[in-house]
Point group: C2
Chain length 343, copies 2
Amino acid sequence: MKKHTTIYDIAKKANTSTATVSRVLSNSNYPVSHELRQKIVKVAKELNYVPNMLGRQLKTNNSMTIGVIIPSITNPFYSSLVLGIEDIAQSRGYHLLLCNSHRSPELEKKYLKTLFEKQVKGLIVSSISQNHKLLKELVEKGLSMVAFDQTIDGFNSSQIHFDFRRAGLMAIEYLWKKGHKKIAFISSPLSRPSRKDTYKGYLDGHKQFNISVNKDLVQIASREEEVSERNYEFHNGIEMTRKLLKKDELPTAIFCCNDMTAFGVMNELAAQEIKVPEQISVMGFDNIEFAEMVTPPLTTIQQPDYEMGRMACNLLLDQLNGESTEHVDIMLQPRIIERKSVQ
Amino acid sequence: MKKHTTIYDIAKKANTSTATVSRVLSNSNYPVSHELRQKIVKVAKELNYVPNMLGRQLKTNNSMTIGVIIPSITNPFYSSLVLGIEDIAQSRGYHLLLCNSHRSPELEKKYLKTLFEKQVKGLIVSSISQNHKLLKELVEKGLSMVAFDQTIDGFNSSQIHFDFRRAGLMAIEYLWKKGHKKIAFISSPLSRPSRKDTYKGYLDGHKQFNISVNKDLVQIASREEEVSERNYEFHNGIEMTRKLLKKDELPTAIFCCNDMTAFGVMNELAAQEIKVPEQISVMGFDNIEFAEMVTPPLTTIQQPDYEMGRMACNLLLDQLNGESTEHVDIMLQPRIIERKSVQ
DNA sequence: CTGTTAGCGCTTTCAC
DNA sequence: GTGAAAGCGCTAACAG
């Protein structure tokens, strides 16, 4: 584990200056004679030179690294999102610092700080915190960011939204057209704006199609997710279904706040020997990869996770590179994916 | 987006030197008088100081960042692994650079190089490349690494293995004890040592329990996964099941190389109206989160993904911090998770 | 305790 | 085309 060779070593051996070596080895388009150039490249190879990017980064104040903060990579929605982000980042020469906030505002805050200290200039974040003071501060200090899921107003930053409210409405419309009038809603707590909007859409749909809302059919968890809990959504789906099935009036269809919850619902229905979709239809939300893998394959609403990731990253990098200074606000539209869980 | 304040600014305003400021602000245990210390902290706050870690990193030659290279974060096995890694990294003050190799040796190589240039001193890798020349070079140059899945010999690095061969054997033993004698094996290509070992275990089991191996029951994909293909394992499971069901002799149980493949198998069986487990039992491998969410819940072999991630990261960081210089080789043992897909 | 100073490895004026 | 030299922001001898 000896000393690494630096451009200084190369300059010495090639009888030239560090300036010229730098010009050649950093692919600058600064003119350097062909012979010298070749010599430098040759010597660099001989000495087994590996550039130390920290030097460059310190000098140029550009770390070519972006940060990503999400609740948990274990959630397939986020893993697809991150894959999309990383694919673009990689193709444009950036690396990606991954941070799982575990839905903890404290952790999120810590990450925000340390990423910024590491000179991350671009951030893609699905913020859990209600308090955007720090985020705002950082943006003022020069951080570029693209936000997901949550409307963060009051400062300049691009945002990618998904029309949850419309999605909720579309779900009800779809179910209503299939003849359903007793449609349950099963959800984890409405602690995120996205969930609230989905629920609003559910209500919108009832109004629009003149279906009365039966409170017994709305089962929203009151208990918040524990930070370290695994498979929370799934288990909550089970729990809420049990509650639902104890009520006097049973639904003919269940609309779930996400696919994992829907899996829990289907699981409990199967346990109680209720056939999906023959006796009760189930509709999910997200269209994660597994939605097509369960039996019956889940009818759901697509959130274009991978594409959202790519889009977010391109947006961010354009912004970072000054290729586009204006901040965009994108509202992606839902699409229903018909499979077999709704009849 | 003005100039950031540096320790120099603080030193000036607090009438002291950068050395002292650094001592205070970097939590060094170097003695500094209480008054001066307080003053520095106060001024730092006033000036809204944010340390620039690049300076420190360049100086100390320690980036407090580790790299992770995996095939794809979209695979739930890897996302749990990465979560485990990140949880430990975070708790020990490190950040994590995530790289998806997409099973491309070229991409893997590129990541290896760029990570090293970024002064990443620790790496956790599930290598796809057969050629470990570069990896070896980097380790010689001072990179610490922990490898997964693949035996990389010839140089010092910790490795975490899983006993795939024994797992294969255990699966057959389990199935045999349930009375199965016609056990199919469905797998993606045996391009990774882990898969080969699983298959060896399958054969071991047949030998041990005196079951003759019927080649018709062994369906291993010949077509390699395309780099950008999504849900490959799932679709391969479907495809191989179709092939299998065309044969004269049908199995009473199917052992799959991983859970995703098992989902494909179950899906196709359902499509052909074959009941699981009444008519054919299905056994998976990995115990990803979704294994308990499908219907029927999948009986499978546990690979302790999250724990492996934590372990790998702790190992790596101990090594980096010189807390343990010896390189460990760990072989984790399989455990059968009984659910409902085997009868 | 405190300050001076010399870099870490690289880029980038600026002068030649 | 080329090189000298001044830093980027920070830490760590070393001297006092």
